[in-house]
């Protein structure tokens, strides 16, 4: 069964996208705090930072990080997650992830100003689409093979897909901090839980992992 998945870190006060980035601190203090336990996992260190030393946490947070990267055939993300809000004027911008991005699959970036596709050496490719969630999903399905499709974020993109009922599996890592600013994930999604099965699990870090899964049809 090919599934549409969403995985996000959110603060206890509901912010999934941080907005305090500056040229001096391109990720932002809030992003560092929000992702602290995720970026500390062995899986993140291996997959994103190319650290093969075996360093990193191996508990509950790491188990969810492994799932995050497993069984994917394509990804869809917003322009902000690819960095177009800061770097849209630079035609050479190739994303935050260097020459070996962690995806290793086709990635569709939603933007109102598409640009030429980018092919990386490790199986990652970036394709820029001005498309509705539904149409973007059709494009992703066409190349995903037997793999799942991940909605990568940020919060606005995620909410667009949730709002149209397009997501089968939602995983949020609720981080016990209050950011007080950013973009909220849950606005205007009353009753989203209907039709999903819910699980919750606490990690050693204090993060709680909550999943909503739609039973297979």
């Amino acid at each position: 069964m090919r599934r549409v998945r969403l995985d996000l870190n959110i603060s206890l006060d509901g912010f999934a996208t941080t907005t305090d980035q500056t040229p001096e601190n391109p990720f932002g203090e809030d992003w560092m705090r929000l992702t602290r336990d995720y970026t500390a996992t062995r899986t993140f260190r291996e997959r994103v930072l190319h650290d093969s030393s075996g360093a990193g946490t191996t508990g509950v947070d790491d188990r969810y990080a492994m799932r995050y990267f497993a069984d994917l055939g394509a990804e869809i993300m917003g322009a902000g997650m690819f960095g177009l809000h800061e770097h849209g004027d630079d035609p050479e911008w190739r994303g935050w992830w260097g020459e070996e991005p962690p995806f290793r699959i086709p990635v569709f970036v939603l933007t109102h100003t598409p640009r030429a596709s980018i092919e990386m050496a490790n199986g990652t490719s970036f394709h820029f689409l001005d498309a509705s969630p539904h149409d973007a999903l059709a494009r992703a399905r066409a190349v995903a093979g037997g793999g799942d499709i991940r909605i990568g974020g940020g919060a606005t993109t995620a909410r667009d897909f949730l709002d149209e009922g397009l997501v089968d599996d939602i995983h949020v890592a609720v981080v016990p901090i209050l950011l007080g600013r950013g973009i909220r994930l849950w606005d205007d999604l009353r009753g989203l839980e209907n039709g999903y099965r819910v699980t919750s699990e606490a990690a050693e870090s204090g993060v709680t992992h909550i999943t909503f899964s739609r039973p297979p049809e």
Copy 2:
């Protein structure tokens, strides 16, 4: 050590007070959903509903419910929680809880229109104060003996006490539902977690219990 405590149920999208009450449904559909797992506990059934049959859940949710009622010397709540928003015009109104309220301690109700105190048979008394959080706490401390002081809610009252840094122990039961309406607990509390130790625990129900505790001075 006498502590100031706060315990609330909140939805995953952050609402701690529900606002869909009607004369026909005085608690409201949202409150029923938000408190479903708490009101299902054996402790709630015994303490609030006077059901001594032993019915009710006895897992993680019940353990937190037991703590909710333990070691208290006084309680402070907002006018809305006592029912003054709906019943403020009725001088005979004595709260939602019947003649044997679950408190069994002095309860201070914050209101701009104080009324005469009410003494119940089981040790519960209600006192009505037009006071700041700081002053209300001083009044509560004066009668709490060696017991803790609980801030009972709702969300606005809780936030007033949090905002002034007056709460030593916070417990929120995060219920995996999206209400999309009500009063949010966490607005404008960025960085609240600083100075607290955090724990998280998942209950069988899917509720996650998150605590913030200030180390004893």
